[in-house]
């Protein structure tokens, strides 16, 4: 997703030490090739020190997550529902060994393989959920903010009600409604994704609606109306393009929360069946009983996988947020920075 707004000159290069040099830099910034202006890459270039470290850690974790989802068949030693090889059963609750690097579960699954295949499920749900809530939320927010009147009032009220409610509970109700509880690979992924979508639409809706209401009063929208531009074009071109600034942050936050919600659904027993796909939350659910008898490897690794996946996505989102907010951004020279904020 490319942002159509070029960053304001003052925010683009934190390395600049004085205003004159910065003005020079700003003109250079506009001529930078497109790939350097992509969100994460431009953020990486603009960051320093600790913030850069956090952003890089996040990006690395996300890349690892995506790669292992893509290359799961190559990386995983066994299938996600495989309990035997060459007619020999794996054995249950075996501690980590050469044959099973991370041990086996109570059902005889190989833990390492389940963890690797689990990235696929997580990424699939994340992609579906974030895309769907992004499109629906943005569309509804745009419509509500632009049209206004009773439609706006009803939508705001429903969005607020949904937003106020514990997201997980709604996801449970939704997943039961959609799939009737347990389900297969694609239906399970879709059910989880739709449940998460319903929960997240209000966030996009609120942000976009607030922006649209603000933008609607701007002179350039008035001008477009006077010239006789159609509603659709005003919404698509004039409002949407300008209202999407805050989206990358919500985008990443939702991605991380969708992993958490999927895991929670699986943990509570409303997830995907283990024979259809590997899912970390389900594995943790099964590992709960193991913990009491001191078997740690069945729960530790899927749990770590969830934590690292969410950590990676959250770090990226947080860093982007900090870098977009002049108050939170670290600069190479603190003194100069303070003057710039005041100016």
């Amino acid at each position: 997703m490319t942002l159509s707004n070029p960053e304001p000159p003052g925010e683009d290069d934190p390395g600049a030490t004085d205003l004159a040099a910065e003005a020079g830099d700003a003109s250079v910034a506009r001529r930078r090739p497109w790939y350097l202006r992509l969100p994460i890459i431009s953020h990486l270039r603009g960051s320093v020190g600790l913030q850069r470290g956090m952003l890089i850690t996040g990006v690395v974790l996300v890349v690892v997550l995506l790669l292992s989802a893509l290359l799961a068949p190559l990386l995983a030693p066994y299938g996600f529902a495989q309990t035997s090889e060459d007619g020999v059963r794996f054995g249950t609750q075996e501690p980590p060994s050469a044959a099973h690097l991370l041990g086996t579960t109570v059902t005889g699954f190989d833990v390492l393989s389940r963890v690797i295949w689990g990235t696929r499920t997580a990424v699939a749900v994340m992609a579906c959920a974030v895309t769907a809530s992004l499109f629906l939320g943005v569309a509804l927010g745009l419509l509500s903010g632009y049209v206004g009147g009773w439609l706006d009032r009803v939508l705001v009220m429903v969005a607020d009600a949904v937003y106020a409610f514990p997201a997980l509970l709604l996801a449970i109700v939704m997943s039961i409604t959609i799939s009737g509880g347990q389900s297969g690979a694609w239906s399970g992924i879709l059910a989880a994704a739709i449940s998460i979508t319903v929960v997240f639409i209000p966030q996009y809706f609120r942000v976009i609606r607030a922006e649209v209401v603000r933008l609607k009063a701007e002179p350039f929208v008035e001008a477009a109306k006077v010239v006789g531009t159609g509603h659709r074009r005003i919404m698509g071109t004039h409002l949407l393009r300008n209202a999407t600034r805050t989206l990358p942050l919500i985008f990443t936050l939702n991605a991380s929360e969708s992993i958490l919600t999927l895991a929670a659904l699986g943990f509570l027993g409303f997830g995907i069946e283990p024979t259809s796909a590997a899912e970390w939350g389900y594995d943790l659910n099964r590992a709960m009983a193991d913990a009491t008898s001191g078997i740690w490897w069945t729960g530790m690794f899927p749990g770590l996988a969830i934590a690292l996946a969410v950590l990676g996505v959250t770090l990226v989102g947080e860093s982007i947020n900090d870098l977009n907010d002049p108050r939170l951004r670290t600069r190479r020279r603190r003194r100069g920075a303070r003057k710039k904020v005041a100016a």
Binding site: L50, F165, P166, F267, M288, A291, G303, L311, T314
Partner: protein, 360 residues
């Protein structure tokens, strides 16, 4: 001339404060009335969502009865009537305070709500204490050491606290403190002996700790508290991480304000600056966000309760959901909606009292 101006200045705050107090009453009323549609919308959504998959009788007994028997049982329970009639009937029942009776264990939903609701409330209160004890001081430290290593460590810890699912934290706590060290119980709200002692009490309240305190039974107090420690920490870490982040961000914002600089130039110590001048204004957005946190905590409570078999609303909700006991699910969901709506209301009123700009 100068006296007139001074009068103006004298007058101005008094007048605005008078207007604000009238505005506050109206604000509280409007805000209170907004609770009703919120609950109504959620109630309606859950009612129809649950019915898309069919009625509870078919779900519970579908395979075991012949179609005729099933139809008879459905008619008995009123599930053959049009959906809208059922819905209006349900609404009428709720208005009279009748939430119906559960299918799976045949208890009035109101009883389910009070018994298990108290357990959830207990858990949420404990973990709120843990979260505040963790989040506020650590957030202050992070803000003061901004961009140096303590800040880095604390921020990663906060994100980890937020990124790690409650049930995984719970699993780790169990592995370390229950199985490994044997210090604390694995699950439940009381030990078997504790439950026996408790069952002998006349008129027990749903709050175990209160009962134990009332009896003055030290053993029972220790029993109840030791069962609560791990769940409270598991849930508290999640919320504490969010508090830490909030305190840090807001304190960094307030510490850049001019009045902090002027206080610093007056020679106010750094410690006093952070605790007095910096923290207090930074707490206002935290109070506001806490309203939303309550919804999040209740969601987290479902997972924590399942992890530690803590007999609260969340644990029971998952159980009833698996049994397709829609009446119980509707009741619990509505109860949670009421809790969330009321806590949001209280938080908004507090925010309005602290910061007059919030009112509308």
């Amino acid at each position: 001339m100068s006296t007139a101006l001074e009068n103006e200045v004298e007058d101005a705050p008094r007048r605005t404060s008078k207007r604000a107090s009238g505005g506050l009453g109206r604000y509280v009323l409007v805000r209170f009335l907004l609770i009703i549609p919120t609950i109504f919308i959620l109630m309606t959504m859950v009612f129809f969502l649950m019915r898309i998959t069919g009625d509870p009788i078919t779900a519970a007994l579908g395979g075991r009865l012949t179609p005729d028997q099933l139809a008879e049982r459905r008619a008995e329970a009123g599930y053959d009537r049009p959906l809208l009639v059922q819905y209006l009937d349900y609404l009428w029942g709720v208005l009279r305070g009748d939430f119906g009776t559960t299918y799976s264990d045949n208890t009035p939903v109101s009883e389910v709500l009070t018994t298990y609701g108290a357990a959830t409330l207990e858990l949420v209160l404990y973990s709120l204490v843990v979260a505040l004890l963790l989040g506020v001081p650590l957030g202050m430290i992070a803000a003061r050491t901004r961009d140096r290593w303590p800040d880095a460590v604390l921020r990663i810890v906060a994100i980890l606290g937020y990124a790690t699912p409650v049930f995984f934290v719970g699993l780790l706590l169990k592995l370390i403190f229950s199985v490994g060290l044997g210090w604390l119980p694995v699950a439940g709200r009381l030990s078997t002996e504790g439950q026996i002692t408790m069952s002998r009490i006349l008129n027990p309240s749903p709050f175990y700790l209160l009962d134990a305190l009332r009896l003055g039974n030290t053993e029972l107090i220790v029993d109840a508290l030791s069962h609560a420690v791990l769940p409270a920490i598991a849930l508290g870490i999640l919320t504490g991480g969010i508090f830490l982040r909030l305190v840090r961000t807001n304190m960094i914002g307030t510490m850049e304000m001019q009045y902090i600089e002027s206080a610093r130039s007056r020679g106010v110590s750094e410690t006093r600056l952070t605790t007095r001048h910096g923290l207090r204004p930074a707490l206002i957005p935290i109070i506001t966000v806490m309203g939303m946190q309550i919804a999040l905590m209740l969601g987290g409570a479902v997972l924590t309760e399942t992890t530690f078999e803590w007999n609260g609303l969340g644990y029971m909700l998952a159980e009833y959901m698996k049994a397709r006991d829609y009446v119980a699910v509707q009741g619990i969901v509505m109860m949670l909606a009421v809790i969330v709506a009321i806590s949001n209301f209280v938080v908004d009123v507090i925010a309005a009292l602290i910061d007059p700009r919030v009112r509308y």
